[in-house]
Structure formats: structure tokens, C-alpha cells
């Protein structure tokens, strides 16, 4: 029995260490963002909100934040719409090539980001889409679609087919059935897919690095160049803002999941 307790203590110790390793390093950006100095020194010797002031006033940071937010909203709308339609079309169908189609819808998740990035860069150069809003929207939509298709597809599998038959039997049209029966049931899945699409676009780095131009950068791209080219603690404020945004959104996902039937 003592042997078992020892084992358990060792395991708990490992669990605590791993937990610290996973959670604590990320949080280091928060105190640095409130540092009063122009360095990454940790812990900071003085405090202030100068880095936030810079972040929200200097045009290169503020513009990239606004670009990222607008882009994420557009991508969310486009990807959610297209992905939901696709999931509806594919729900409970089977035909030759169905597996290949599923594979295609998952492919942007499986193919390494750098491969997608280089492929899109080569294509966009030829099509004149580098550094354009359209290029960004299309690239991010491709990356966000799988999340929507998976989430809505999973929600659709929970819809009892009898409900649709009952609605039809009571004289509802296909659209009325969808709007009044199917959609309310799959709404949490659609919402989760939409939030995944938002976070995918808002956080994406690799593909964005390749389709950006100095005139049109997203926030993660601006952060990437900041880490490679300069020692500017404004990035700590940027990181904190990004953490707050994604945490808030994912808390929302958790809430929709909890209220799901």
C-alpha cells in the first residue's frame, strides 16, 4: 500500500510540474505588459501602462489590430455560412467518393501550415492577391472551414430524423423545417464553429506571413516581425490583449456547449 501512495505522490508531483509548464509561461506576458521600462526584464522594476498607450496609439500596432479584428469577423461570417451549408448537404448522405470529400474538407487542417503558405503565396503572386484583403479572407476561410464543417456536422448527427418527418407530416416546407426544427437544435454547433473560425483567423501566423504586405498586416504578423526585428515591449501589451480576446471567446464556446441540449 505504501508503494501505491509513493507512486501516487510521484504522479501528482509530475502533474503539478506539467501544469505549471503548460500554464505559467504564457502568463509572464501580463506583468511585462504593465512594466514601466523599455525592456523585457522580469519581474519589472517599475509599473505603468505606457505599453498599452503605445499599442493603442501607434499606427502600425493599432492598424494591425483593427485589420485582424475586421478580417476575423468577415472570415467568421463567410466560413460559417459556407461550412454550415456544406455540413447540411453532406449530412447522412452516402455516395461514391464521400470519403474523399470528407478528406478534402479536413485537408487544410492536416497539411502543414508552411506547405499551405508557400502554395498560396505562389498562387496569389500570379493572381495579384498578395497583401489584399480578398487574399487574406480567402486564405483564412480555407483554414477555418474544417472547424465549421466538423462542429456543425457533429451537431447534425444529433438531430433525430423523426423530427424532420414529423414537421413534414404536419405540412411544414423544407425551409420552415430547417428554420424551426433543425437550426435551433444545431445552433450550438454552428456557434462553436463560428467561434473556432474567428479564433483561427485571429491567431493565424504562418499563412498570413506569406500573404501579407508591409501595407496590410495582421496583428500576429506584426507581433512576429516585432520579435524578429526589434526589442519593443509593446508586444507584451499586444500579447495580453490577444490572450484576453481569445479567452473571452472560448469562455463563450464553453458556455454554449454547456447550454447545449
Amino acid at each position: 500500500m505504501t508503494r501505491r501512495t509513493t507512486l501516487r505522490r510521484v504522479l501528482v508531483g509530475i502533474g503539478v510540474l506539467v501544469g505549471l509548464w503548460l500554464v505559467v509561461p504564457t502568463l509572464v506576458v501580463v506583468p511585462i505588459s504593465f512594466s514601466g521600462e523599455d525592456s523585457f526584464a522580469f519581474p519589472p522594476r517599475s509599473w505603468g501602462v505606457d505599453h498599452y498607450a503605445t499599442f493603442f496609439t501607434e499606427s502600425s500596432w493599432l492598424t494591425s489590430l483593427l485589420v485582424s479584428l475586421q478580417l476575423a469577423v468577415i472570415v467568421t461570417v463567410v466560413a460559417t455560412l459556407l461550412g454550415t451549408l456544406a455540413a447540411l448537404a453532406l449530412d447522412r448522405t452516402s455516395f461514391r467518393g464521400r470519403g474523399a470529400l470528407d478528406g478534402l474538407f479536413m485537408a487544410p487542417l492536416i497539411v502543414p501550415g508552411i506547405v499551405v503558405a508557400v502554395a498560396l503565396y505562389a498562387a496569389f503572386l500570379g493572381w495579384g492577391l498578395i497583401g489584399t484583403p480578398t487574399g487574406f479572407v480567402l486564405a483564412h476561410t480555407v483554414l477555418a472551414l474544417p472547424f465549421v464543417v466538423v462542429n456543425v456536422g457533429a451537431a447534425l448527427r444529433n438531430v433525430d430524423p423523426v423530427l424532420g418527418r414529423a414537421a413534414a407530416g404536419l405540412g411544414a416546407s423544407g425551409w420552415a423545417t430547417f428554420r424551426q426544427v433543425t437550426f435551433p437544435i444545431i445552433r450550438p454547433g454552428v456557434l462553436a464553429g463560428a467561434l473556432f473560425a474567428f479564433v483561427t483567423s485571429f491567431d493565424e501566423v504562418v499563412v498570413s506571413l506569406f500573404v501579407q504586405s508591409p501595407q496590410l498586416q495582421t496583428l500576429p504578423v506584426r507581433m512576429f516581425t516585432s520579435v524578429t526585428n526589434e526589442v519593443d515591449p509593446t508586444i507584451a501589451a499586444a500579447s495580453t490583449v490577444v490572450l484576453v480576446v481569445s479567452t473571452a471567446l472560448l469562455a463563450l464556446v464553453a458556455l454554449t456547449r454547456r447550454s447545449a441540449p
Binding site: 509561461p25 523585457f40 461550412g83 451549408l85 448537404a89 470528407d102 478534402l104 506547405v115 508557400v118 472560448l250
Partner: protein
Amino acid sequence: MTVTSPPAEADALAPPDPPSRRRRRRVGRVSLLLAVPALLVLLIFFVVPALRLLWLSVTTPAPGLGNYTSLARDEVTTTVVLRTLFMAAVVTVVCVLVAYPYAYLMTIVSGRWRGALLAVVLVPFWTSLMARTFAWVVLLQDNGVVNGLLGALGLGPVRLLGTTGGVTLAMAQVMLPFVVLPVYTAMRGIDRRLVDAALSLGARPVTAFTRIYLPLSLPGVAAGATLVMVLSLGFYVTPSLVGSPQQSMLAQFISVQVNQLVDFGAAGALAVTLLVVTLMLLGGVRLLTRTRGAGTGAGLAGGLS
């Protein structure tokens, strides 16, 4: 963020519904045409660019497999490929060694603690990759916190930023969930009575573990390890920022071919090679998980890259 996504994704990849359910078609089933807009976007802005890259790799600058053969002969390329394989292997081993006891701990604690352990492991999925990578750059700098800790233990200061050790520490943190989740899934499916039976028949605990428990949990380990291997091979952000240009990995190397040398032939050949290796490894995982039914987080791969 993806508590329910791995099983959902496994469903999406699973074969279509069994015949009994397929027969119960919904009345007024929506037309397949609804999938067309999404399909067009994927075909034009994903499949076509990928095929174009493949085409470029065998036509630029001259038609033929010249890009592939010259890369195979090039010393720098082979060094980068070997270094990438080595780094991926190191990260995979670290992840497996850390994830195994962590996943086991998840199976023996109470429900509330299991939820907490799961939430902690999912933190890397929802925190911004850039924010996390920047945090590692700060922590690993010469006068950073990690070096402070090492110094206090009498081990430092050590150079971490730009070294294999630093990159491993940062990369393994990002990859850990991809091992913990499938290993935990596999362990949860193990019937504890098998171990109890072995013990009551006189097996020593170590024997019961190595002969019964370990083999039953191996499919999860294999699935997780392959995923981490695959993700590490193509990982760009963390090695670029935490590592050094002199120690570049494959993804950085590809990016240099494109951005600095504007050599789409070579970049295409490297990208195609990376993609083929990735698909082969993932195909292996699918075979493993299909036969044993262990869940994987394959679908989450794209979130990082």
C-alpha cells in the same frame, strides 16, 4: 477549446452511418448542391495552389525531377532535414515521457480533478501561439526567468535562446496536448480488472504494468507520438523565433527558399516532400486507430502549424 472536438473529428472521418441508420433518410433532405460554394473555395484556393506548387517543383527552372535530385545531393538540405528529424524525435520523446504519467494521473483522480487536468492540458489550444512564443523568448533569454531558476539551483546560466534545449522546451509545451489526449483515451478504455487479475495471480506490479497495461495503452502512445512527429516536422513559428537561423528546421528552410532566394522549384520540392511524409505518417496513425479505436487529435493539427 477543443474538449469535444477530437471525438467529433473522429466521427467526421469515420465511415458513413451503418445501413440501418442510412435507411432512415430525412424527408426533404437538403440537396448536395449546398456544398458547392465551400467546395469551390477549397478547390480554387487550396487544391489548385497545392497542385500548382507540385507542378512548379517539377518544371522550374527545367522540366524533370532536377529539384528533387539536387536537394537530395545538397549538403545543407540534408543537414536541415536530419536536424528537423532529430528535433522532431527529441520533442516526441519528451512529450511521450511527460504525457504518459500525466494521462495516467488523469485516470486515477476524481472527476473534478480530471476536469482540471484536462483544462490545463487544453490551455495551449486556446492561447495565442504568438503570445506563447513571445513569452518563451522572454523566459529563455540570457537574463530570463529560466536562467534565474537554473542559477538558483547552481546550474546556470546556460544559453537557451537559439539552442536545441530551448526549442525543445518551447515546442514540447505546444505539442503536449496531442499526446495526452490520445493516451488518456486509450487508458480510459483499459479494463482495470485485467491488471487486478494479473496481480492476484501473483504477478509483480512491474510485470503487470509491462505485460498488461503498457501494451494496452500503446496504440494511444503511437497515435500521439506520430501526431507530434508530424506537427514538429512542419512547425514554423516556434523554431523560427526561439531557435536560431543557423539551426533552422525544414519549415524555416522552405521559407528562406521562397522569401530570400525566390526559388519556387526548390521550395516546392521541399514542401511536397514534407507533405508526402506527413500524409504517410498520418495514414499510419489512421490504420492504428481504426484497428484499436483510440481517439486522436489529428484534426487539431492545423491550429498550430
